[in-house]
Amino acid sequence: MSLAHDARLAVGRATEAQRAARTWPEINNPAAWAVAAILVIMPLIASSFFLIEIFATTLILGTMALSLMFLAGYGGMVSLMQLTIAGFSAYMVAVFGVSGNANISLGWPWWLAVPMALALATAFGTLGGALAVRTEGIYTIMITLAIGAAFYYFTNQNWAIFNGHTGINNVATPRFWGVNWRADIPFYYIVLAVAAFCYFAVQYVVRAPFGLALQGVRDNPRRMAALGFNVNAHRIAAYAFASFIAALAGVLQVWNYRQISPGSVSVGACIDVLIIAVVGGITRPIGPFIGALTFVLLRTFALDFLVRLGLDGNRFRLLIGLGFLAIVFWSSDGVIGLWQRWRQHQRREVSRSGRGRGHG
């Protein structure tokens, strides 16, 4: 075989690899591979408490915050109703599926109840979005917060479907192929698969025409209209996509706790999702997961830490609040912003010292 032919092959492979790297930036990132490997073998190294209470919970909250990150980071729309959509989806799983409240639940099998819940929650989020896109900035926040608050009070007072403040308990979880999918290890893998799916879906879509156009709408809606785009239709479609992600997370959440009550869709919980996204960073889809891990670790362990300091353990929110303040003051793009700046600094140091040696 001729040398020229080999060279051509090599070039072909190189461009193939370059294209793959552009499509999936994670491919060339050893840290991403390490994180993926650790997540996959997690059941071997983590106790079931860590597996579910820390990591599965982080992935579920992270996925909810990812839906907010998609809207805020790529669409410039801060929606506080993403948790509400997840909660609505969770309620629908309980209402259409099997639960301890037989007078409310319709008793559908999970494979019917879940698509129904996803469809209804996506429709709910899309309708909310259609209201919200008529406004911008702070008014979007206000409208979506109002939708969240209205849903919270509605669930509290409606007994026919939402069972008032007691909520719906003993929600059935899927069992098939002889596996109890709510057992710790299978459930962890379901959560991991859904979170990974949503993460890569966002990564993919933001480079597809729809995602590019959404970023165009974020940067300059008027110009987008002057390029032939229906700006509001694009924004509503973004709400639909984000709502589907939130709805998926809602299904996982109701399976995780096996119950859903108004406390899970409170206004405070809506704002927690915003805090998670902002602390992690809303410029990249990994941010919400970092934020969620920070939030879950603080929520779980700050209690012991505070008690040891002689403070009331229930004040873990104080730590989260202080952390939030610090992030907003010093790194408006969250933890990943801090990380990126640190990396750039390191690189500059290395190149500087390298040049120094060269001249010496």
Partner: protein, 260 residues
């Protein structure tokens, strides 16, 4: 030789752009008053006038950025007065902005790709463009046409002013434009860049007409065949470039600093 006004009156329904009695109010202020303009397909026209003459408002009414308060706008015979901007763009109307209106967070290539995508199908596509994507090639060609190939993977925020102005033009030429509105494309350009701009404008295919707002008479009168002079939101004079240039009233307006 016929005057332009006479030629235009004969055109009638065949016009590319036909404005009849267009008025635009901002509160009590009339930015445009009873503007009637007809432009033939392929015609290239300059709109001149001092600041506040209503030139940019005229563009905003034509594209639908602001709808007119009264009057009708026809684009190739179709009444588009009440169409949203994107519907007009999809019919072949294009515009550039006086202050560059680009997407600073995206690359040059992505900016042009969006412009190509906006006037074709698949605006909501969730599938990434493949290697042989026709629109990607169209975007490549446009990037090349405005001499930006060297920086096509750079974010727009990092470009020099002149390059941003060139990109501004590229966005307006995506797809199959039938008529383009250029809002001061030469603003802030160096003499070399101005020469490049003139070259781009004069080498546009003959069927693409345009209106250009330009203060620099040297640029404006080299790339147009007719001139509309505006003053205080009204059409003040229409004619050939030479007629307008030698018109004593126009000279009075321009040399007198825009006062009557």
């Amino acid at each position: 030789m016929d005057s332009v006004a006479q030629r235009l009156s004969a055109v009638g329904a065949g016009a590319a752009l036909e404005l009849r009695g267009v008025t635009r109010l901002f509160g009590a202020l009339a930015a445009l008053t009873d503007v009637t303009i007809t432009v033939r397909p392929g015609e290239r026209r300059a709109v001149l006038g001092s600041n506040g003459a209503g030139k940019t408002t005229l563009f905003n009414c034509i594209t639908g950025d602001f709808p007119p308060s009264s009057g009708t706008i026809r684009f190739f015979g179709e009444d588009v007065t009440h169409f949203p901007p994107y519907e007009r763009i999809r019919r072949g109307l294009r515009r550039t902005y006086q202050i560059s209106a680009l997407f600073p967070g995206l690359t040059v290539q992505d900016n042009v790709y969006l412009a190509c995508r906006g006037v074709s199908r698949g605006r909501f596509s969730f599938l990434r463009p493949g290697q042989n994507d026709a629109l990607m090639h169209a975007a490549d060609n446009l990037v090349q046409a405005v001499h930006l190939s060297a920086v096509k993977d750079q974010r727009v925020a990092e470009l020099a002013h002149g390059q941003q102005r060139q990109l501004e033009i590229a966005l307006a030429l995506a797809g199959a434009p039938r008529f383009v509105l250029f809002d001061e494309p030469a603003a802030g350009l160096s003499p070399t860049e101005r020469a490049e701009l003139i070259e781009i404008l004069t080498s546009l295919p003959a069927h693409i007409g345009y209106i250009i707002i330009e203060h620099d008479m040297d640029v404006a009168l080299r790339v147009v065949e007719s001139v509309t002079m505006m003053h205080n939101g009204r059409v003040f004079k229409e004619g050939l470039p030479e007629e307008i240039q030698s018109d004593p009233e126009v000279q009075e307006l321009y040399l007198g600093g825009g006062h009557e």
